[in-house]
């Protein structure tokens, strides 16, 4: 039985961090700690001395982990981005999922694989939920703008709701624009002219 791995997850978003930690726990008995604040990341990692660091690929503080790749003292263990030689697909899948893994020198790829697989799956799920949330929010915003524009048209031209909406839709079609763009333009023009 392999000893448990010490894993650091760098993730400022609490919910996301918890989701990833859960996924890793399912992959095995590992000691997982979460770093929410990326300040002084390299120092913290050097102190905690984990076997594996998981961090969002777009986290700006990732660059500080590169410092550790240079560590050459006898006490230090070099940290490098995990690139699985036997299966380059794993690193590619991780990067496409938006996750990067840093491993400490000497850790065998087969020990990392289950953890990384689990994290990748969870990253995909979390980012899908995020995208869906963002889309819902954007749709709501659009709805609000269209309603405002509709109201403005109704008042300005003395039209009913249905007619005002048709007028907006026709304007959008004639100009080859999206309904929300036309609505935005009307709202903005109204702000400027009032």
């Amino acid at each position: 039985m392999d000893s448990p791995l010490a894993i650091i997850v760098v993730e400022p978003d609490r919910d996301r961090a918890l989701a990833i930690v859960d996924a890793i726990r399912l992959a095995g008995e590992h000691r997982v700690s979460v770093l929410a604040d990326p300040a002084g990341l390299a120092r913290r990692v050097a102190e905690i001395r984990p076997d594996l660091v998981l961090i969002d690929i777009s986290n700006p503080s990732r660059d500080s982990l590169e410092e550790l790749a240079l560590a050459s003292g006898s006490r230090d263990r070099a940290v490098a981005m995990f690139v699985d030689q036997s299966d380059s697909g794993l690193t590619r899948a991780a990067i496409e999922a938006g996750i990067s893994a840093y491993v400490v020198d000497g850790l065998r790829p087969e020990r990392i694989r289950p953890v990384l697989d689990a994290a990748i799956a969870r990253f995909h799920m979390v980012s899908r939920i995020r995208t869906e949330l963002a889309a819902t929010k954007a749709a709501l915003e659009e709805r609000k703008v269209i309603d405002r524009a509709k109201g403005l048209v109704m008042r300005a031209k003395g039209l009913g709701e249905e007619q005002a909406y048709s007028l907006l839709r026709k304007a959008a079609m004639d100009q080859g624009k999206r309904l929300s763009e036309v609505a935005q333009a009307i709202v903005m023009a109204h702000e400027v002219l009032k």
């Binding site: 660059d63 590169e66 690139v83």
Partner: protein, 381 residues
């Protein structure tokens, strides 16, 4: 075959050529569509290049060389097709430290030594011209200055100063001026005062890509070369600052960007504003030519600092700066080409006209602060 090329970049003033090539039609003229992909960190940009999420990248000149020498993450060879900018680095200190004289490497070095305590200095990446120029300067200035180099993302420099994580920084614009505005930092020394012709950013691609797609490589290089010429033209400064300042690009005020472009930096919140010779070069003096000697200098420095064989490192580095491809793809535009792909770095006290393949060309002043001369041929023999 697709005419779309994805080009990764980091929001910095020296990404100007990439942004201008898409915004002002230089890519269109070549019949390619450049898709700019903004990255949050150099590691991210490097991964995107390694794993084919972008075809090319605006990259720190030291990164391809470090990779070839086995330093840092990843092992896929990366090479430089052209240079996108020289210098533009600025070294600054926290307002908690006593004010220092501006611009004189020897005097600043002496003053730092007299502080008598180690300094924590933020740089954008362990493999960067910022880190190399700092090390070169501090190695030679004497005074026993102890420096602890920390990696800090450029937009975070101001915050890191305020949080007392660092005492100073060496970073590319606009992030030095940003630290002046946001954290009251004092600018002390431009990178150009350490080496007036230090290659800062290159156009990087995966090794072999330019040979596999010669047509695309040529179009990309010519678009960026023409964009660099536009960027280097002082009469375009105001427009350039406006475009770079947009939220999709650098997302800071045009005034902050204009400081670098005008080569006049406000060195502290209360001033003064100081003109800086050769602060940042985008095009003049054959700035876009990837000199093999520039790569050799980087290789030699990295080797010395990391205990590698200097001769081998210089040779490995030289091959990464593809002056041959520059000649092949930029030459036909009528751009001046030097007769030799090496030059003696640090040997020009003033700009000088030299014979080119056709006619003549002008090389800019090329000096190290300590008057040292780097002659790759002499070192290699």
């Amino acid at each position: 075959m697709s005419r779309v090329l994805r080009l990764g970049y980091i929001p910095l003033v020296d990404a100007a050529a990439a942004i201008v090539a898409t915004e002002f039609g230089f890519a269109d003229e070549e019949g390619i569509k450049l898709e700019l992909v903004r990255a949050n960190s150099w590691s991210m940009l490097r991964d995107q290049l390694d794993f084919g999420q972008v075809e090319a990248a605006h990259m720190l000149s030291v990164m391809p060389v470090a990779r070839a020498l086995g330093l840092g993450s990843g092992d896929q060879p990366i090479e430089a097709l052209m240079v996108l900018s020289l210098n533009g680095q600025i070294f600054g200190l926290s307002s908690k430290l006593p004010p220092l004289p501006f611009g004189d490497p020897a005097r600043v070095g002496q003053a730092l030594g007299e502080l008598g305590r180690p300094l924590r200095i933020g740089v954008p990446f362990p493999f960067s011209m910022q880190a190399e120029l700092l090390a070169y300067w501090l190695d030679r200035v004497g005074g026993g200055i102890r420096v602890d180099i920390r990696t800090v993302p450029p937009p975070r420099m101001a915050k890191a100063l305020l949080a007392d994580e660092i005492d100073g920084f060496c970073v590319g614009e606009p992030w030095g001026s940003h630290a002046v505005e946001q954290a009251g930092a004092r600018l002390v020394l431009p990178g150009s005062a350490i080496w007036s012709q230090a290659p800062e950013k290159v156009l990087a691609v995966r090794k072999g890509w330019a040979e596999a797609r010669p047509d695309m490589a040529g179009k990309l290089m010519r678009a960026l070369w023409r964009a660099s010429r536009w960027v280097g033209d002082a009469s375009n400064r105001t427009t350039l600052a406006e475009v770079l300042s947009r939220p999709g690009y650098l997302d800071v005020s045009p005034d902050l960007i204009d400081r670098a472009l005008s080569q006049r930096l406000l060195i502290a919140p209360e001033g003064p504003e100081i003109p800086i010779r050769q602060f940042q070069t985008f095009h003049t003096g054959l700035a876009n030519f990837p000199w093999r000697s520039q790569a050799a200098w980087i290789g030699a420095r990295l080797a010395q600092r990391n205990g590698l064989d200097v001769g081998t490192a210089m040779q490995q580095a030289r091959d990464l700066f593809r002056s041959d491809l520059y000649r092949q793809h930029i030459g036909p535009t009528g751009a001046p080409l030097p007769r030799c792909s090496d030059k003696v770095e640090g040997a020009l006290a003033a700009s000088e006209t030299v014979a080119a393949v056709h006619g003549a060309l002008i090389l800019d002043r090329n000096q190290f602060f300590d008057g040292q001369v780097f002659d790759p041929e002499q070192l290699a023999s």
